[in-house]
């Protein structure tokens, strides 16, 4: 049986929820609506802002971004654009949830893997941190820690992520960030042969599987706060042939002993936490490393936009209207200083070129961003 434009057999992995004719058209509509909001409506707002920025500059405000926002709010099209931005994201999850719920039984059956290579360890007493439970990150209903004993929240995140990223992050595998982190590792340590690797804040394992792909001999671990996401991550990794050990833990303080990993990394995790948690996560990544081990923290490549008032405001709005709890904190942090404070040596701060395969990608790392989705912000250090 083949579905519209894609069938389960043709997909990158069999766990992903497959839409019917109508569900796929609806998901494509949401994707196009989000593009319309971002690429047709937003540029007009940017031009309006350009007219207003000189007034903001002349006012000598101590908080120019707030001042710009206040002035923009007098334009009805500004508030309409923001409403549509929010609504398009809500529609995305609604469209994805219908598709996932319809095939709930099928997904549970697929998740029951015989003789798995990896493991999943859940903690019934685990309490997710406040920054996870305070609001649903990315507006995903229920949030990252939601758990009803099934794999469905993970399935929603996977399908939603594929639509949300609009195909810019590795299509249905959504794994370019993980490969980019591995490319950075091989850029700074070309001959490294890690025995144990940890992905902190692994979600459904999109960035974890690349570690297993690039280092098939390593023992790869992934930790996250959501039980449903981890159950799904385990099934997804098994279907991709990757042996990964998932466990439910906070990246701020894990149960692993000191010096138990050669490589510890995170991908776009810090901006979903808090300024305090980000410091704790860097410190934990340092504690877990063996002498000479390497920690890598990859983030959204937008830090270079600071200083452009509209870009700063647009960034704030994205954080507020799409529930990104530590957007400003993660994008304004002095990572060199934070890494030094965490006790790292050989610290690097810059941009790694986006990699499709961490093992074979060009080892390109530098101080300048190549732009969104072409490179990712990375800081790394050695224990």
């Amino acid at each position: 049986m083949s579905g519209i434009a894609e069938s389960r057999a043709a997909l990158a992995h069999p766990m992903i929820a497959v839409p019917t004719h109508d569900e796929l058209v609806e998901q494509l509509f949401v994707r196009d609506l989000k593009l319309f909001v971002g690429q047709t409506l937003e540029p007009a707002q940017q031009k309006i802002a350009a007219q207003i920025v000189p007034e903001v500059a002349a006012s000598g405000s101590n908080s120019p971004v707030d001042d710009l926002r206040h002035r923009m709010q007098s334009f009805e099209s500004f508030t309409t654009w923001l409403s549509l931005k929010r609504e398009s994201q809500r529609q995305l999850w609604a469209a994805v949830e219908d598709c996932v719920e319809r095939q709930a039984d099928q997904l549970e059956a697929l998740a029951a893997v015989d003789a798995p290579k990896g493991t999943v360890t859940l903690d019934a007493d685990f309490a997710a941190p406040d920054y996870i439970t305070r609001g649903d990150i990315h507006l995903m209903p229920g949030g990252n820690a939601h758990d009803d004993g099934s794999v469905l929240q993970g399935a929603v995140m996977d399908r939603g992520g594929a639509v949300y990223m609009l195909g810019r992050n590795g299509g249905m595998l959504n794994d370019l960030r993980g490969h980019t982190a591995m490319a950075h590792l091989l850029t700074v340590a070309p001959d490294i042969r890690p025995a144990r690797i940890l992905d902190m804040g692994c979600g459904i394992g999109t960035s974890t599987v690349p570690a297993a792909v690039c280092f098939p001999e390593a023992e790869v671990h992934g930790i996250d706060v959501g039980a449903s996401m981890l159950r799904y991550a385990h099934a997804r990794a098994e279907h991709l042939g990757a042996a990964v050990h998932f466990s439910q833990q906070s990246a701020e303080r894990t149960s692993f002993p000191d010096a138990s990993f050669d490589v510890v990394y995170s991908c776009v995790v810090l901006h979903e936490t808090s300024p305090e948690a980000a410091v704790n996560i860097l410190a934990e990544s340092r504690r877990l490393l063996r002498p000479g081990g390497i920690a890598i923290h990859l983030e959204v490549p937008l830090l270079h936009t600071l200083g452009d008032l509209w870009q700063e405001l647009s960034s704030e709005l994205e954080a507020q209207f799409n529930n990104e709890p530590n957007w400003r904190g993660a994008l304004t942090a002095d990572y060199g200083q934070l890494m030094r404070a965490a006790g790292f040596a050989d610290i690097r701060v810059g941009y790694q070129a986006t990699a499709f395969n961490g093992r074979t990608a060009p080892r390109k790392f530098g101080e300048a961003s190549e732009g969104v989705f072409r490179s990712w912000f990375v800081t790394s250090g050695r224990a």
Binding site: M1, D22, L41, A44, Q45, A58, F75, S77, F78
Partner: protein, 84 residues
């Protein structure tokens, strides 16, 4: 307006469902033929275009409102003339 539109879409959807059922009963379509339909590349491109066309048409007023606000923001005001 939205209530009328919802009502109209509901009627359209029911009529389309009727057509599908009659076509299956008449053995023109196999059961599930529409849900498992996979357009070829050319058809997919046309369908992408149709979706884009609808989207631009329905949301055009929002873009026009934004351009009107831009025109208003670009008009020189007394204050900016004084600064100049």
């Amino acid at each position: 307006m939205i209530v009328s539109l919802a009502s109209e879409v509901t009627v359209l959807r029911a009529r389309l469902d009727t057509c599908e059922r009659l076509l299956v009963a008449a053995k023109v379509l196999a059961p599930g033929a529409i849900d498992t339909f996979s357009p070829d590349e050319a058809a997919q491109a046309e369908r992408d275009g149709m979706r884009q066309h609808t989207l631009n048409k329905v949301f055009r007023p929002l873009q026009e409102a934004a351009l009107a606000d831009l025109a208003a923001a670009s008009r020189p005001t007394v204050a900016t003339e004084i600064q100049v």
